[in-house]
């Protein structure tokens, strides 16, 4: 036995003898707190937002620390800018629902209120204050409206939420659903007239201008409902089951059918859906031990696939030897590029941009960050900017995080926003 061995044994022994009985029993104190603490909905993890083209989900932004006068002046300027945008939006043409667009403002939430953020200055201004606890704002694809979720009282579990819609300047606020239990994952239709969402595993469509939401086709176990571009005649979703599938259904509730052809290898397969802007391809992450390299500590390595919507043919995106991949895939607005996470065996991940046709040409962007070697948790969210010139990546977890702007032309990256309490973020699309 070496000196080191003896030392480590002595230390292990000391740790074991020293640890017990130091802390008084406080289980009941802990449980008293958890009893009144609401759980975060499952969909509030980063992955929930990744497939949405212009959506990413930094949880904390850092508001710069200017003096009060400077902050006030900034807020006034931003409000003026918002007013100009609001007035201008009635006169200017709107962007197409898919394809390249001009970058607009950010919308986000903090402490139950909705805010607009100027990406150039990080200044924020309230859009919706007051009643209820509001969160998860998402712009319509034409950038003229936002949808978000509201709880009328303290967020209990299960949460009872109402989906609210307002104009981009915060005016015209109105509900589009009744208070609903387990309301989850929503997506704007391409024309901005409807919103698909799930509640208790069922698929629903709400009309933005009013009327009762309608349940589609008796689907049970739907997740990731996403309108299929370009016309939105169908809604793609993942069927949650022991053997999940990717399926589609017409927005009138008819014509439900499977898109995926192969059988899932496990309950995690066909996860993290992403849809190409032309609607011809659905990407997904396969968590499987079949046909992919194993990793020492976990056994599985995820890989990203593209599914041809018309033929059901699957294509595995190529990757560097000794690495895995993790969706959700974000498509560039013009559909030529995809972005996903590369998983390294040494326990790290890095954002990768590659050709969307699967021909390779992978290139890494931004820093390599620590993460589990099996890719089970990627502490980041990413999306292309509407103008397609850069990737917005939010690194970090609940405790810390920052939004990085990573130009695709190789220019130096910049940090747009750093920690600070803001949650969901979406980017407005404006006409080019």
């Amino acid at each position: 036995m070496t000196t080191n061995d003896r030392f480590e044994r002595a230390m292990s022994s000391w740790l074991r003898e020293d640890a017990p009985f130091r802390v008084s029993d406080h289980l009941e104190e802990v449980l008293e707190v958890t009893r009144v603490t609401r759980q975060r909905p499952a969909w509030s993890s980063l992955e929930r937002w990744l497939p949405v083209d212009t959506t990413f989900r930094p949880r904390f932004f850092n508001v710069p620390q200017p003096g009060r006068l400077a902050l006030l002046a900034g807020l006034i300027l931003l409000l003026l800018a918002l007013a100009i945008v609001a007035i201008g939006s009635r006169q200017q043409r709107l962007p197409e629902p898919f394809g390249l667009a001009r970058n607009g403002i950010f919308v986000t939430s903090r402490d139950g209120d909705i805010y607009a953020v100027d990406p150039a200055t990080s200044q924020n201004a309230p859009l919706v204050l007051g009643d209820g606890f509001d969160f998860s704002p998402i712009f319509s694809r034409d950038g003229t409206k936002i949808v978000f979720l509201r709880s009328d009282g303290p967020l209990a579990e299960p949460a009872i939420l109402t989906m609210m819609v307002a104009n981009a300047d915060g005016s015209g606020l109105h509900p589009v659903t009744p208070p609903t239990q387990n309301l989850d994952w929503f997506d704007w239709s391409p024309d901005g007239a409807q919103i698909a969402y799930m509640a208790k595993g069922k698929l629903w469509v709400a009309d933005v201008d009013g009327g009762a939401p309608r349940n589609l086709g008796g689907v049970i176990g739907a997740h990731f409902p996403t309108w299929l571009p370009p016309d939105g005649k169908e809604i793609v979703y993942r069927l949650e089951a022991t053997n999940p599938e990717i399926r589609a259904i017409r927005s009138d509730g008819t014509g439900a059918h499977a898109i995926s052809v192969t059988r899932a290898n496990n309950q995690y397969d066909f996860g993290s859906l992403g849809v190409s802007p032309d609607g011809l391809t659905v990407t997904f992450t396969r968590w499987s031990s079949v046909g992919v390299p194993d990793v020492d500590t976990a056994g599985w390595w995820p890989r990203v696939y593209a599914l041809d919507v018309k033929t059901g043919q699957e294509m595995q995106f190529p990757t560097a030897e000794g690495t895995g991949q993790r969706g959700a895939v974000a498509y560039s607005p013009d559909g030529t590029l995809v972005a996903y996470a590369r998983i390294y065996r040494a326990g790290a991940f890095q954002i990768v941009v590659a050709d969307a046709d699967g021909s390779g040409n992978e290139r890494t962007l931004g820093p390599k960050k620590p993460g589990p070697a099996d890719g089970n948790h990627v502490d980041a969210g990413w999306a292309f900017t509407p103008d397609g010139t850069a990737l917005l990546v939010r690194f970090g977890n609940d405790d810390a995080g920052a939004v990085h702007l990573l130009p695709l032309d190789g220019s130096p990256e910049s940090i747009l926003l750093d920690t600070g309490g803001f949650e969901f973020v979406d980017v407005q699309r404006l006409a080019p």
Binding site: T2, T3, N4, D5, R6, F7, E8, A10, M11, S12, W14, L15, R16, E17, D18, A19, P20, R22, V23, S24, D25, H26, L27, E29, V30, L31, V33, T34, R35, T37, R38, Q39, R40, P41, A42, S44, S45, E157, P158, Y268, D296, T297, A346, G347, A348, P370, G371, P372, A373, D374, N376, H377, D379, D398, D399
Partner: protein, 185 residues
Amino acid sequence: MQRDLVERARRGDHDAFAELAGAAISRLDGAAWLMLRDVEGAKDAVQNALVRAWRDLPTLRDPDKFDAWVHRLLVHACIDEARRTRRHRMDVELTELDTPSIADPGSAIVDRDQLERGFLRLEPEMRALIVLHHYLDLPLPTVAATLGIPLGTAKSRLHRALGLMRAALDADARVRPDLAEGRLT
């Protein structure tokens, strides 16, 4: 059994979570005490970790990784707690010694006070590494995953942590008359 409890707790079953917390809290308390050496700080860290576990449980992808996930939450809570209280303690900077030891720190004469003094001089991140590996008996790949660092980094940090502890023990073994007389020079 535990997987069933985790899945129930993920769906909001607080009784299931209470069972999970009850099974884990002694182990977590012990680990937190070792990392922080402060009873109130350890209680706060464990409470923060468990409250966050309950809050974020629905987002846990793999129920089988509940233990590793809670350990990670605890380590973060302990490091946060240590940073909050850091200003109240005297920091002692140590460098590893390349020279042969005066006393053999692996020998039976290493007493618990010496180990504690050496351990206290480590940064919270290094204490966490030692506690995960030598108290919770987690293999190094799991420790690396729990701390969110590459395996090679975990190995090198553990080596450095043990080196620093040995250096501290060596330093203790030297007689310093000024300290022995209760004077700080």
